[in-house]
């Protein structure tokens, strides 16, 4: 059995540029900054679209669906007391070039494959909702 993440989650500072992202899971929905001019999702958040340089950007909901691009099972006790946990890169279906470094939860390493579909779940710690991912059920 692997854990769903490290025993301690270091927390992001909820500055104005990123607060929407880290609190988005409060209503169970993942959001990214999107350019209203060209439709590009900009992540990490920036004041300008890196594709078209428009500054007309706003958070927009996405499906929360994605794919595992790579993963590793961490054993080293960087954070003492942690059981092994899975770190992954997950790309989002709406724009696969956007990836999140995240944890895969409620799944064992032997059942993880690169390319497998996953869906977002959130872990609530203080004022942050961390987007984590779990295998997407077939057909859903």
């Amino acid at each position: 059995m692997v854990a769903n993440g490290p025993v301690l989650r270091l927390l992001p500072k909820l500055t104005d540029d990123v607060a929407f992202f880290w609190t988005s899971g409060e209503d169970g929905v993942l959001r990214f900054l999107r350019c209203h001019s060209c439709g590009f999702f900009v992540h990490p958040p920036a004041p300008v679209c890196r594709q078209c340089l428009s500054r007309d950007l706003a958070p927009e909901a996405v499906s929360g669906r994605g794919r595992v691009e790579s993963f590793t099972v961490n054993y080293q006790q960087w954070i003492p007391g942690s059981d092994p946990y899975i770190v992954a890169w997950v790309s989002i279906d709406e724009q696969p070039a956007v990836r999140l470094t995240t944890n895969l939860v409620d799944v064992e390493p032997e059942d993880v494959r690169i390319g497998m579909p996953v869906r977002v779940v959130f872990e609530h710690v203080e004022d942050v909702w961390f987007p984590l991912f779990t295998p997407a059920e077939a057909g859903t």
Partner: protein, 413 residues
């Protein structure tokens, strides 16, 4: 001469005229400034110069809030301690890998801003680690103290909360992607560590010299799959210094000058550990490709390669990025270890790399390249087919979104 290149690359106006290295060890218990001065004085003497000849100074990373033992002394400390009077000075962390300081020095002498630049990189990460485990980035694992959980902004906020707190984690993701895309195996990856250990046995300064078998490698404890303990470099204490000079000094040296033939500095992909377009290469791809645009030499001309191995997987990435084999073919290239042995097609990391000789953080590779080109590598000296000594060395520093590379040659082109 390439039709697209009208002028000689400016870096070729620079030579590495002197090299020096302090004692290197796991925990020397000496100050970073003390180690730096030892290396610097050795390098100045090696170049046949005196302190008063040095008119420039450069380092990586300079004054930064890095992990304990990472940064070494900043240039003002070294300048003042050694009583240097400089016409040019530079320290910084942003640029094409750790060798950014050497490249900056080469461009400074080429531009006439200085004649002889002292360039150094000093680490005391061995002592800083003490008897505890290796730390993550940002002090993760060091405990939050009494003030609650620390909060992070900037790029680290995207990885640290998920327990991806070390470059080991980030590069394990690169490695796993290579297992998936290219069929890379642990046995192939292990050849990088085993080759390094074999070479370290001939390096009196190396940290780990006991022979390592494939069985030893495969049995080592996992750090973050598929990277095990022996895929990670060994924190150490030590300083490496170079004198980068205008090339007209070459004739005055009592050893062959080492010329900077070309540098590779490009970064075309996103400067990010998790958003880079190609998850199997990252910045090495761009730096490697840009190197060959600045020279008529080709990968086949390289007599020895000193390729960064902060983690073994990075050496695999660099083998491909520099064109020593095709994309995805580095696993097959190192299979069995013959190609990368000292007597092989491409003698690799001949001092033992950072995996076994210690994490001198990029500069150890440049130092070893100079020794090999000068024919001063002692029992580990590379001898090419026909009894020829090495004339061309490729050096690479960095991993993930950080990459720089250089081609060094013996004597002036």
């Amino acid at each position: 001469m390439s039709a697209t290149r009208a002028e000689e690359p400016m870096e070729r106006r620079a030579i590495i005229s002197g090299i020096g290295q302090s004692d290197v060890g796991r925990r020397l218990g000496r100050s970073e400034l003390d180690l730096t001065v030892e290396a610097a004085q050795a390098a100045i003497a090696d170049a046949g110069l005196t302190r008063d000849d040095i008119d420039g100074i450069a380092t990586y990373p300079g004054m930064t809030a890095g992990p304990p033992g990472f940064s070494g002394p900043a240039t003002p400390e070294v300048q003042d301690a050694m009583g240097l009077s400089v016409n040019w000075h530079d320290g910084g962390v942003e640029g094409p890998g750790q060798m950014r300081a050497v490249i900056a020095a080469a461009l400074a002498v080429a531009a006439g801003l200085a004649r002889h630049v002292l360039v150094y990189r000093t680490v005391t990460e061995g002592s800083a680690q003490g008897s505890g485990g290796r730390q993550g980035i940002g002090g993760a694992g060091g405990g939050g103290g009494g003030g609650g959980v620390p909060r992070f902004g900037g790029s680290m906020q995207w990885t640290l909360p998920f327990g991806a707190v070390s470059a080991a984690n980030w590069l394990a993701l690169v490695a796993q992607r290579r297992f998936h895309e290219f069929g890379l195996t642990r046995e192939q990856l292990g050849q990088i560590a085993i080759n390094a250990r074999r070479n370290a046995g001939l390096n009196p300064k190396a940290i780990y010299t006991a022979p390592m078998s494939m069985g030893d490698y495969l049995a080592a404890r996992m750090i973050t799959t598929p990277l095990c303990l022996f895929d990670c470099d060994a924190p150490c204490d030590g300083s490496t210094a170079f004198i980068v000079s205008q090339r007209d000094l070459a004739g005055d040296l009592d050893h062959p000058a080492v010329q900077i033939n070309a540098v590779g500095t490009a970064l075309h992909g996103r400067p990010s550990w998790d958003q880079f377009d190609d998850m199997t290469t990252m910045a090495a791809r761009d730096a490697g490709a840009s190197l060959w645009l600045r020279t008529d030499l080709t990968p086949a001309d390289v007599d020895t390669a000193q390729l960064y191995d902060g983690f073994s997987i990075l050496t695999m990435v660099w083998l491909e990025a520099l064109g020593f084999c095709g994309r995805g073919e580095s696993g097959a290239f190192v299979e069995g270890g013959a190609n990368i042995a000292r007597e092989g097609l491409l003698p690799l990391n001949t001092a033992g790399g950072q995996l076994s000789a210690g994490r001198l953080h990029g500069f150890g590779f440049i130092h070893e390249a100079c020794l090999q080109l000068r024919g001063e590598a002692g029992t580990r000296q590379v001898v090419r087919p026909g009894g020829r000594s090495p004339e061309v060395a490729a050096v690479a520093n960095g991993g993930g979104p950080i990459a720089g590379t250089m081609l060094l040659t013996r004597g002036l082109a």
